[in-house]
Amino acid sequence: MRCEGTYTPCLLPIEEIIEETRDIKTFRIRRPEDFVYLPGQFAEIFVPGVGEAPFSISSSPTNPTFLEFSIKRIGSVTQALHRLNPGDTIGLRGPYGKGFPLEELLGKNLLFVGGGIGLAPLRSLINYVLSPEHRESFGEVFVLYGARTPGDLVFRWEFPSWEKRKDLTLCLTVDEGDTSWSGRVGLVPNVLQEVFTRSCANWVGIVCGPPIMIKFTIKALREMGFEARRIITTLEMKMKCGLGKCGRCNIGPYYVCQDGPVFSYEMLVTMPEEY
């Protein structure tokens, strides 16, 4: 996307806000024509008068009309974002980062394991894979998604359209159920070993969620026989510039903003554990 100055955002109005959970909202904005991106990439969102923060894009690039960002209320920028209404202005610059290694995923079966808001970057890839123009390039799709409680599951409005499909298995779980919940209860890594009983040949595991979940899910995947290079995850680091310049997302010889945020487990094990 072209703007004058490397760090200058383009101002855009928020088109629609979807309340996902009590602390997560999805913000939909019109996609600028020159905003070309891949699933897994992120963008910097600027809230005038408050600040700027990086967010992964949760919509698929196959959607030409809008961009979506699913954002959890945590810090000052996200708090300000949650106070905004449709029609309010935010700034956007990006896309940044490398995104998922689509070339390597071609022809593979994809196992998505998401936890909490970690489904956001995965959703971009899932919808990309499910789109008619790309569906044939990929094999089976298995999605395991968990959250703390049923009320913390995001994109529930979209699940019916996924469940309808024959080429996708969706499995939901929560750490702690409630009266409205008739589905599975259990931690994602444990449930994974229960529900994913196929041979892992030709499968790629794509994991995103809170650090502790990622850690144990990767452990589970390794036990199930996934090769290190067939496990893909995304890292979260404090970022400011998004361009590999400001230095704070540096881990070993990598800048998470520029070389990541998507990393294979094979790469991850060579990096110092400072994330």
Binding site: C3, E4, G5, T6, Y7, T8, P9, C10, L11, F46, P48, G49, V50, G51, E52, A53, I74, G75, S76, V77, T78, T89, G91, P211, E236, M237, K238, K240, C241, L243, G244, K245, C246, G247, R248, N250, I251, G252, P253, Y254, Q258, P272, E274, Y275
Partner: protein, 318 residues
């Protein structure tokens, strides 16, 4: 780029006249060697990456937000700097802000307007270690011109005022200087230093190495290669996005909004600073992120010495 010996000699008076005619700045290292009145900079970084730079303004007016990009104001400048500092510009700052796509728009403008006059060093200070990290007191790699203050005048290569060729005796003098510097030079760090350090990431020696450090930012702010910055907003209804130096020594540097901090303890931050310069950056770009100017050694309130730290860890990893 090493000396060609094919340069020319100008008198000090003529050299100073030329400097005054050009809009010349000098870094403090260079100024301590010349007795001339030029506006001084702590490091070349302060010119290329000012500590405070407003990137764009924003304001709320007429019921809408506006963002006003600020074209960087920059004039043509002649900068006198030491070989190590020139290396900091060419090897590190240019690498990060020019070659690492996309280039930083305001850095590009400032860099284009900059002429680098490298002033060779005729001696080593107690803090100097440029030759340890692949530098040389007479190298002018990346510079536009080179000047060497000699007893009988200023030896020049590259752009600059006209002069006369060196007499054989003067040439001999110059060769003697080169020989003396070669003798006094420290030997380079082992070629595999980045790999050694990387493999020593989890060694206990870091505890000993990091012990005395106060975790202030004096070293990083005075370092000519430390480029990390913060983007911090100023103002509410009208204000600016301000770029300002930041330091990996500060606990807030990597603090997530979720309050998770990957480098929460002082040891991790000291290790990050050493490894980023001597391991991570070299592994990525093939050259050290430290140029051996010794500023951090001099500036440290408690005399924490990065030279000793690197040597200590490398010796452990061997």
């Amino acid at each position: 780029m090493r000396l060609s010996y094919e340069g020319r000699l100008v008198s000090y008076e003529e050299f100073l006249r030329w400097l005054q005619a050009s809009k010349a700045f000098a870094t403090e290292i260079v100024l301590s060697r010349f007795n001339i009145a030029l506006p001084s900079l702590p490091t070349p970084k302060s010119l290329l990456l000012p500590q405070r730079e407003e990137l764009y303004h924003f304001l709320w007016g007429k019921r809408e937000w506006k963002v006003i990009p600020l074209p960087p104001a920059s004039e043509k400048v002649l900068l006198l700097l030491a070989p190590c500092e020139a290396k900091a510009v060419v090897h590190v700052l240019d690498e990060v802000f020019l070659k690492n796509a996309p280039p930083d728009s305001s850095y590009v403008v400032r860099r284009e307007n900059l002429t680098l006059l490298v002033v060779g060093c005729t001696f080593f200070e107690a803090t100097c270690f440029c030759t340890r990290v692949g530098g040389h007191p007479l190298s002018w790699e990346g510079g536009n011109c080179f000047a060497l203050p000699l007893p009988f005048g200023v030896y020049l290569e590259g752009e600059g005022p006209e002069g006369r060729a060196l007499e054989p005796l003067e040439k001999e003098e110059l060769e003697k200087l080169v020989e003396r510097l070669a003798k006094e030079a420290l030997k380079p760090l082992p070629e595999k230093t980045p790999e050694y350090l990387y493999s020593a990431f989890e060694r206990e020696v870091w505890e000993e190495v990091a012990w005395g450090c106060l975790n202030c930012g004096a070293c990083t702010f005075l370092c000519p290669t430390c480029f990390c910055f913060d983007l911090a907003l100023e103002g509410k209804l009208r204000g600016a996005m301000v770029r300002t130096w930041d330091s990996c020594m500060f606990p807030k540097f990597t603090l997530h909004a979720s309050s998770h901090n990957p480098r929460a303890n002082p040891l991790q931050r000291v290790r990050q600073r050493v490894l980023h310069k001597f391991s991570y950056f070299p592994l990525r770009k093939g050259k050290f992120g430290c140029v051996g100017c010794g500023r951090c050694v001099l500036a440290c309130p408690v005399n924490w010495d990065i030279r000793e730290a690197v040597e200590r860890v490398v010796s452990c990893a061997l």
